[in-house]
C-alpha cells in the first residue's frame, strides 16, 4: 500500500521542501492577515504543481491518480503545517462537488465545471439544510420549476458554510411537486451572482459568521444544470455525504495529534501533569486519536479496494465529533480560571483542529471549545449517527 504511493509521497515532500522556508513554523503562527495572503499564494503553487484534484482524471485537469495519493497530500500537508484545502470553499468544490460530478455528472458538466473548481474561478457552497429540514433533510421545501429553459427557484437554505465567499451553490430543491419526500427532489447547480439569490451571514456562538442563510426569490439556473435526473437529488446527495465522511478519514488523526501535542504542552506548562484526573483524560483522548488513525487507515484501504465506507463512516463521524468536544473541554479544564477571560490571538479555527504553529493561547482554545459544539450537529447529528449505526449496522427497524 505504501510502496505504490511512495514515489508520489517523495514528490509531495519535495514540493513542500521547495515551497516553504526551512524555518516554516506552520500556518497557525501567521497573523490573520498574513494567513489570508498566504492562502491565495499557496493555492496557486498547489495548482501549478498539480496537487489540486489529485484523484481526478487528467482530461478534467486532475492528476489521474487515486484516493491513496489524495490522502498522501492531506497527510504530508497537515504534518508540514500548510492547508491542503486552502480556502473554505475548496472543501465544497474539491471534496464534495467534484467527486459527485465525476460519479453523476454528464460529460459536458464534467468538462465545464471540474476545471473551474480547480482554477478557483467557481467557488462552491452547499445548500442542503432548511429551517424546517435539518435532520429530516428530505422534508425540504425549496421549490424549482421549469420556465422555458430555466429552473426557477424559491425557498430558503440555512447553515450554508461560507456562502458569502461563494459564487455557485449546489442545492437540493423540490422539482416534482406531486411527489412527496425524497423522490420529489433534484440536485441543482445555481449561480449566486444574480438578483434572486440573497445571502445573509449568521453570527454563531463563536462570534464569527461561519454559516449563512441563502434566500432564493425567483433565482434562475439553466435547465441542464441538474445533476442526475429529475427526482434523483436524494440519491445524488447521499453519494456526496459519503464522500464528505470518507475522504478525509485517513488523515484526520494528524491534525488532532498536532492539537493534542499542544494540549500536552499546556498541561505541563500549567503544572497539571501530575493531576490524576487530567492524566486519565489524557489517555482517554489519545486512545480516540489512535482509533481515528487506524480506523481511518482501514477505511481508506476499503475505499481503495473499490468498496465504500458505508455506515461504518457513522462510527468515525460520531467518534470524531465527540472526541473534539471532550478534548477541548479538557483544555478548558486545564486552563481553569484563566479561561474566564480572553487572552492572546485565536488560531485559524474553523471546523478543522487548529494547525501546526497555532499559539497555545487561551483564546485559541476557547474558540475551538465553542466550535466543537457544532460538530455533533452538522453533517448528521450525533443522534442521527446513532440511528444509522443501529439501523444499518445492527439491523434495528426504522422508526414510525
Amino acid at each position: 500500500m505504501t510502496d505504490e504511493s511512495a514515489g508520489f509521497r517523495d514528490e509531495v515532500r519535495g514540493f513542500l521542501e521547495h515551497s516553504l522556508p526551512s524555518d516554516w513554523p506552520g500556518i497557525g503562527a501567521l497573523s490573520p492577515s498574513e494567513r489570508d495572503r498566504f492562502r491565495g499564494r499557496w493555492r496557486q503553487s498547489m495548482l501549478e504543481a498539480g496537487l489540486l484534484g489529485v484523484s481526478w482524471p487528467r482530461e478534467y485537469g486532475g492528476r489521474g491518480l487515486g484516493v491513496l495519493e489524495q490522502a498522501v497530500v492531506q497527510e504530508e500537508f497537515l504534518r508540514a503545517g500548510v492547508p491542503h484545502l486552502p480556502f473554505l470553499w475548496d472543501l465544497s468544490g474539491l471534496i464534495l462537488l467534484g467527486p459527485t460530478l465525476l460519479a453523476w455528472g454528464t460529460d459536458e458538466q464534467k468538462r465545464h465545471f471540474l476545471p473551474r473548481i480547480l482554477s478557483g474561478e467557481d467557488r462552491w457552497c452547499q445548500g442542503y439544510s432548511e429551517p424546517e429540514a435539518g435532520s429530516d433533510l428530505f422534508a425540504l421545501r425549496t421549490r424549482a420549476h421549469l420556465v422555458g429553459d430555466d429552473w426557477v427557484l424559491n425557498g430558503q437554505k440555512i447553515w450554508t458554510s461560507h456562502a458569502d465567499q461563494a459564487n455557485w451553490i449546489f442545492c437540493l430543491a423540490r422539482t416534482e411537486p406531486d411527489i412527496a419526500r425524497a423522490p420529489g427532489i433534484s440536485f441543482l447547480l445555481v449561480p449566486m451572482d444574480q438578483p434572486g439569490v440573497d445571502v445573509r451571514p449568521i453570527r454563531t456562538m463563536t462570534g464569527e459568521a461561519e454559516f449563512c442563510e441563502v434566500f432564493f426569490t425567483d433565482a434562475r439556473t439553466r435547465r441542464e444544470d441538474i445533476v442526475g435526473g429529475r427526482g434523483e437529488g436524494a440519491r445524488v446527495s447521499l453519494t456526496l455525504l459519503e464522500f464528505e465522511r470518507s475522504v478525509s478519514a485517513s488523515g484526520k488523526h494528524i491534525g488532532y495529534t498536532i492539537e493534542f501535542e499542544r494540549l500536552l504542552r499546556l498541561i505541563k506548562s500549567s503544572g497539571q501533569d501530575g493531576d490524576p484526573l487530567i492524566r486519565q483524560k489524557i489517555a482517554r483522548a489519545y486512545a480516540q486519536i489512535q482509533v481515528m488513525r487506524f480506523g481511518g487507515q482501514a477505511a481508506l484501504q476499503q475505499v481503495t479496494e473499490g468498496g465504500s465506507m458505508g455506515p461504518q463512516a457513522s462510527i468515525l463521524k460520531l467518534l470524531e465529533s465527540e472526541y473534539h468536544q471532550f478534548v477541548t473541554e479538557l483544555a478548558m479544564e486545564t486552563l481553569g480560571s484563566r479561561a474566564l477571560v480572553k487572552q492572546g490571538l485565536p488560531g485559524p479555527g474553523g471546523i478543522q483542529a487548529d494547525p501546526l504553529g497555532t499559539p497555545n493561547t487561551v483564546s485559541a482554545w476557547q474558540e475551538q471549545y465553542l466550535t466543537a459544539r457544532a460538530k455533533t450537529i452538522y453533517g448528521g447529528s450525533a443522534q442521527i449517527q446513532r440511528n444509522t449505526i443501529a439501523e444499518r449496522l445492527l439491523g434495528m427497524p426504522r422508526e414510525r
Partner: protein, 363 residues
Amino acid sequence: MATTDLDEARQELRKLVRDFLATVPVRDVLEGRIDSDVVWKRLARELQIFELAIPSAPADEAPGLPELVIVFEELGRALTPGPYLSTLGLGLPALCLTGEVSLRRVIDRVVAGDAVVAVIDRDHGISADDPHQAPTVSGVAERVMDAPAADFLIVPVRSAEGVSLALIDVESPGVRITAEEPFDPTMRFGRVELSETPVTRVGDGHPDMSGVLERVETRARVALAGFHVGLARACVTSASEYALVRHQFDRPIGSFQSIKHLLADIHRRTEAAAILTHRAAWAAHHDPDAAALVVHLAAAEAADAAFESAASSIQIHGGIGFTWEHDAQLYFKRATAGRMILGTPDEHREAAADLLLRDGVEA
C-alpha cells in the same frame, strides 16, 4: 503475505475456532455436562492453536499474537471456561521467553494440551528461603488465576541478581492449593501455600528478566483485550437480537431510539476497542519494545467496552436479563472480573498518560 491472504487466513482461523466453541456452550461446561479439561485438550490437539502463544522473533511473518487475539476474541464471545489466559497468555510465553532450553519438555506438554501453567503475579507473599540459593521457596499467594487446574506454577522471585522465575511442579512437596469460590463462575482461583517447596530456577542467566516479565504481561494484556472485544461483541449481538423479538407497545423495542442509541454506543465502543486491540497485537508482535502505550490504551478501552456492553445488554434484556437462567449475567460477571486482572482500566490509562507526558507524541 498480501493483506488479503492474511485476512483470509485469519477469517478461516476465526471460523474454525467459533464453530468448535459453538459445540461446547458455557452452560454445559458450568453445569458439568461438558468437561472443560476435555475442551482444553481438544483445542490443543484438534485445532492445534496453542502454538500461536509462543512468542516469535520480532518482524517474523509466522502467525503469532495477532492470530492468538482472534482465538481469544472467540473465547470471549463463547465465554469458554478454562485456563486460557493464565497458560496461553502468561505461562507459555514466560517459559519461552526465558530462553531456557531445559524447559522444552514442559513447553511441549503445554502446547499439546497436557499441562496447565498458572502464573503468580509479582506482588505475592512468596520468597526464596535462601536468597542466594533459592532451591526452595515458601509463602502464601491468594487468588492465583487457574491455580486449582495447574500442573505447574511460575513464581517470580527476587534473588541477589534481580528477578528470576521459579518453576514449580504442583506434585512437589510442600505445595498446597485450595480452590476459592470465584465471583465469576467461568473463572477459577486458588490459594497457593508453599512450604520449603523445591523449585527449578529459570532465567537466572538472563540479563533482563524484568524486561521479560513485562513482555509477558504485555502479551497477556493483548490477549485479554481480545477476550474483552469478543465478549463485548457477543453482548451487542445478543442485545440486538433480543431488541428485534421483544415487543412492547405493539412494536419491537429495537425501534425505540432509547434502545437504538444504547446499542449504537456499545457497538461503536466495541469496534473502537477492536481497532486498538488489533493494533496492539500488531505492535506487541512486531515491535514489542514500543508496544506499551497502545497496549495500555487497548487494554483500558476493551475492558470498558466489555463492561458497558454487558451492562447495557442486561438493561436491554430487561427482567429476563437479571435471571440466573439467562447468560447475560455470565457476561456481566466476566466483564467485571476482567477489569481486575492485569491492571484496571484506570491503571492502564495512568500508565499510558505517563508514557505520553514523558515521550510526547508525533503527528
